[in-house]
Amino acid sequence: MTEPTGRRRPTRVALFITCLGDAFYPQVGEATVRLLHRLGIAVDFPLGQTCCAQPAFNAGFHDQARLVAQRNLTLFADYEYVVVPSGSCTAMIRLFYPDLFAEAPQLHQQAESLAARTYELSEFLLNIVGTDDVGAAFAGKVAYHASCHLQRELGVTEAPRRLISRVAGVEACDAEMSEQCCGFGGTFAVKYPEISSAMLEKKIASLQRAGADTLVSCDAGCLMHIAGRLRRQGMDVRVMHVAELLNAGHNAEEPRHAPGN
C-alpha cells in the first residue's frame, strides 16, 4: 500500500473529525483542513457528525454502537473520500462497520461502501494524493508512536514515517518501543488503570532513552494518554498529532514548547 494509485488526484473530501479531535484537539482538525487546502483539496465537514461508535463497540455494547454508526453511513454516503485524522476511528469504520451491520443487507452494503472510501490521513496523503513531502518545516528530535489500530488493523506502517521524515528540519529519532501500545485502549485506561499506567511508564521511558523532544502520532487518544502522564510528571516533551507536524510552518498557532501541550 505504499505506491500511489493510478487514480486521479482527489479534489474534494469529507472530513470525519472524530469526537476526541472535535472536543479536545480542535487544532488537529484545523491543521488537517489547512494541510489539505495547501494540497489543493477542498474539505467538507458534515455538521451532523459526532462519534465513530468505537467506545460502545469495544465495550461489547453493539446495539448502542449500531445506533451511532448508522448515522455515519448516511452522513458520508455521497463523498468519494472520507479522511479521518485517526487510525483507530478509521479501523472502526473500515473493519468493524461491515461486521456491525452484517445482518442487515442494505446497511451492510452501505457500510462496505463507506469502508472502501474511508482513509486515515497519512495513508490518504501517501497512497491517494501520492505525496510524501507536504512542504512542512519543524525543528525537533521527533519520535513516532505507531498507534495500534493504525499499524495492526489497517496495516499502515510506512506512510506516517515517510511523511515525518520529509518534514524539513526534523531529526527522526527512533524510540525502540515505537510499536508498543501506550496502554490507552479507550475504557481500558479507566477500567484497568494500574496495568494501563505500567504500560505508559514503559512507553515514556523509551521516549526518554531515545532523547526525543517531540512525540508524534496519528491518534489523539494515544496523544492524550501519553501527554497526560508527561504533564503529570512535568516532563518537557512536546506531543503533536501528525497533522500538526505536517502543517508546521503554516499553522496560524504554532505548537508552543510547553510540557505535554
Binding site: 473529525i17 489543493g40 455538521l47 507536504v134 495500534c148 524539513a168 501500545c181 479507566v190 488503570p193 510552518g249
Partner: protein, 482 residues
Amino acid sequence: MHLGTEGFQDHARQALKDEPLQNALHLLTAEFVPRRVAAMQALGDPEALRTQARAVKEQAIAQLDTYLEQFADNLDKLGAHVHWAHDDAEARDIITSIAQQAGAKVIVKGKSMAAEEIHLNPHLEELGYEVLETDLGEYIIQLAEETPSHIIAPAIHKTRQQIAALLHDKLGDPYTEELTDMTQIARRALRQQFLRADVGITGVNFAIADTGSIVLVTNEGNGRLSSTLPRVHVALMGMEKIVPRLDDLPVMLKVLTNSATGQKISSYVTMITGPRRAHDLDGPEELHVVVMDNGRSNILASENREALYCLRCGACLNVCPIYQNIGGHAYGWVYPGPIGAVLTPLFTGLDTAKHLPRASTLCGACREACPVKINIPHMLLNLRRQSVSRGDASAGEGRLFSLWAWVMRHPGLYRLGLKLARLGQTPFARRGWLGKLPPPFHSWTQSRDFKAVAPQSFRDRWQATLQYEQPSRNGAGGGRHE
C-alpha cells in the same frame, strides 16, 4: 493451585508490585521477543510460512472428525490404545485406570498443558501415586508447589536466586547460583526417578492423522525419556492437536520452534508411531493415547473456532504488553496471556472469566506474533459482545452507553454536552488540563492528567472561520509551498 479468574484485578495489582516477578518478566521481554523476531526473519519468508501453517490448521479443524477417525484407526493398527475423554473428569479417570492396571507407583511426566488443564497431578497424588515432573521448569514449579505462569517457560516468573534457594531447601544440595550446577542438581534427582517409573505421561505437540504418529517437541530430552523408559506411555492431547499429513509436519515444526524459543529446531523432536515392536530395542510395551474434548467441540461450533488453531508456542504471551507487566498467574487459570484471555472464558465460561477479554487494549501484538495468525483481538471483541448480551456488564455501564448513544445521535445534545463539560471543568482546569476527574473516570487521573474540553471545539472553529477558507489553486503538485 490457580488463583482463580474472578480476582483478576487484585492479582494484577499485586503482580505489578512484585519486584522479583517484574525483574523476571523484564528478562523475558528482553530475550524472547528479539530472538523470535530474528529467527522468523531468518526463515526468508515468514509470512508465507505462517499462511501455510494456518492453512494446515484450518483444514485439520474443518474436518476434525475425519482426521481424528483416521488417526485413531492408524493407532489401532499400530497396536496402540485410543481413549476418548469427553471432559476433564473422564480424562482423569481413564489415566487413573491405566495407572492402576499397570500397577504403577511412580509416574514421570513430560510437560503438558493438557494435563494442567485437567489438574492431573493433584488428582493422581491424592490417589497415592508419586508423580514427578521431568521438564526442568515444571520440576521447579512442582518443588515450589506452584502452577506454570507461561505456556512454554513455566517457571519464568522465578528469578535465578529464588530457584537456587528452592533447590537447596528441597533437595538438600549446597546452595549455588551457577546455572550448570543447578541443572546438574535437578538432573541427578530426575535421572533416578526415570528408572523407577512405571508409567510415563506426556502431552502431544502434533498428532499426525495419516500415520498415527504423535510428535513431542522438547529441549531437554525429558519427553523422550518419559515416553520410552517406563513400561507404559500415556499421551494426553486436546483433540485439536491433529494435523492431517506427515507432510504437514515440517512447516508446523518450523513455525512452532521459531515462534516459541527462536530455535530453528528444538533439541529433541520425538516421533512416536505405536508402542515397541518385536524387533525394537526400546520403547514402552503399551502406548495409550487419550484424546480429550473438554469443551473443544463447543469452541469448534462457535464463532471463535480459530482458538483451536493454537500451537501453544507462547509467542503471544511474550509480546503482550499486559502479560509483560503482570505475568501469567494473574490470569488465574491454566492458559495465560492473550490466548488465555480467549481460551479461559471458552473453557470455563464467562461467569467467572469475564474480566479476561476486557483486560486488553486490543493492540494486536499477539496476532502479529502468532505463527498461525489467530485473530485474538477480534475474538476478544466477540467475547465482550457475548458477555454484554448475557448481562455481565454493570447496570451503570449499560446506562452510560445508552446515554452516550442518545447524545451521539443528536448533534445538538452533543454540542450542549460539550458546553456543559466546559462549564463544569472551569474551576478545575489548569492550562487546558484536569488533575482530577469525577467517578467513574477518576481512575484515569490517579496517574495521569486529563485533557480539558477545548474552549472552542473543531466544529465551532469550522463554523466561525474554516468553512470560508479555500483550497490553494496551485496546490495540486504537492511538495513545498514556501
